[in-house]
Symmetry: C2
Subunit: 202 residues, 2 copies
DNA sequence: CGTGAGTTTGACCAGATGGTCAAATCAAGA
DNA sequence: TCTTGATTTGACCATCTGGTCAAACTCACG
């Protein structure tokens, strides 16, 4: 294990390669289904070499998840209470859908973890995530009080956005199996936009 | 392996116990994360005894999935083109949400499989499922042509219903971590109902 | 160019896991 | 009750997998 000095050029390169490979493998097979050998091979390292940079499989997984959680929640974090309500929400939705298109591995990484009861990130959910969602729910409620958007259960409104947008990344195979050649996001973007315009108009 | 005569009393009982246990274990840990020992223990059998009824872990999983696929798709199958459009759709949604509440294990079983690329049911998706969805999409389009419901992309309308309802089963931990004591379905049912009333009204 | 820290690897280990098998036990009909 | 097929099990095996370790190699820098 490298000392805790400033990371060398090689350390930076290899750590990045490992996390990139781990994202591929964990998102495609889940924690249990992923093997250290697989990750090492995909990162272009031998298994002992990989374990020189991370002490265990679990450590790689944890590093990945906590490193990506901020990225994942950034769009919600950026929802601005001083912005124009309908515009803010629609642009949040647009960003979330874009993330499903551009970062499907990240989406599936979290989906894998959540579907199996989130054994490794349960704390982050009930603390950080809950706090963020509660705060943004308050913003939504405020907008509803002002009559700027229709009155709805704010938490379920957020859940609905997550469900609708992440569905296209998490269940990509199913969506594509049904749509055939048609690009999923081509149709999804206007559909979801229309849906929330109708739903949120007071 | 039992001969292919009529199943004995014991065979019926044990097969059922195995599938029930397998549903628990596979839905909670995914295919790779589940172990035969775990399933056997939960079914009250020894591992060799379990393998007397099913030739392999894979065979149990396949039997489960194909046995449950019909159950899972029954609500969509029952969508009646001769019924009153808005009523039919809202009752389909209600049934789907009820299934998320009452059969969360089944939902997560499929979610686990789909999120990992559906390696074991890809054929069923592109054949049976696609056919069913295309057929029902045609029904929806017909209703739109008649002006009975708002014009929308029928496939994405169906996806949205799946996403919104199954979210509550698949990502149960996350939903509960955020809602705290509040019953998820208590709020979800009216929210989703309102959403589709607004969306579908022409 | 020498040296010490940083990096890489082949060989290895222990435990978990899917699966087999022959022998033992049980159940039900004649 | 006796027989025969159904059921159950303990012991066992091969493979996979996460992880270790000492030795070898490479790199940066004085």
């Amino acid at each position: 294990m490298p000392k805790d000095r400033a990371p060398t050029r090689i350390q930076k390169k290899n750590r990045a390669a490992i996390l990139e490979a781990a994202l591929n493998v964990f998102s495609a097979h889940g924690f249990r289904g992923a093997t250290v050998d697989q990750i090492a091979a995909e990162a272009g390292l031998s298994k002992p070499n990989l374990l020189y940079y991370f002490p265990s499989k679990e450590a790689i997984h944890t590093a990945l998840l906590s490193g990506l959680l901020d990225t994942w929640l950034a769009p919600l974090h950026d929802l601005d209470e001083n912005g124009e309500p309908m515009e803010e929400i629609l642009s949040y939705i647009k960003r979330k859908l874009q993330m499903s298109r551009e970062l499907p591995r990240e989406s599936r990484l979290f989906a894998n973890e959540l579907v199996q009861g989130a054994p490794r990130i349960h704390d982050a959910l009930s603390n950080d995530l809950k706090a963020l969602v509660d705060q943004k729910a308050a913003v939504l409620t405020h907008w509803m009080d002002q009559g700027k958007i229709a009155r709805l259960h704010p938490h379920h409104l957020i859940f609905s956005i997550w469900a609708l947008t992440q569905h296209y990344a998490d269940f990509d195979v199913q969506v594509r199996a049904i749509l055939g050649d048609e690009d999923p996001f081509e149709g999804a973007a206007p559909f979801i936009d229309t849906l929330y315009r109708k739903l949120l108009t007071p």
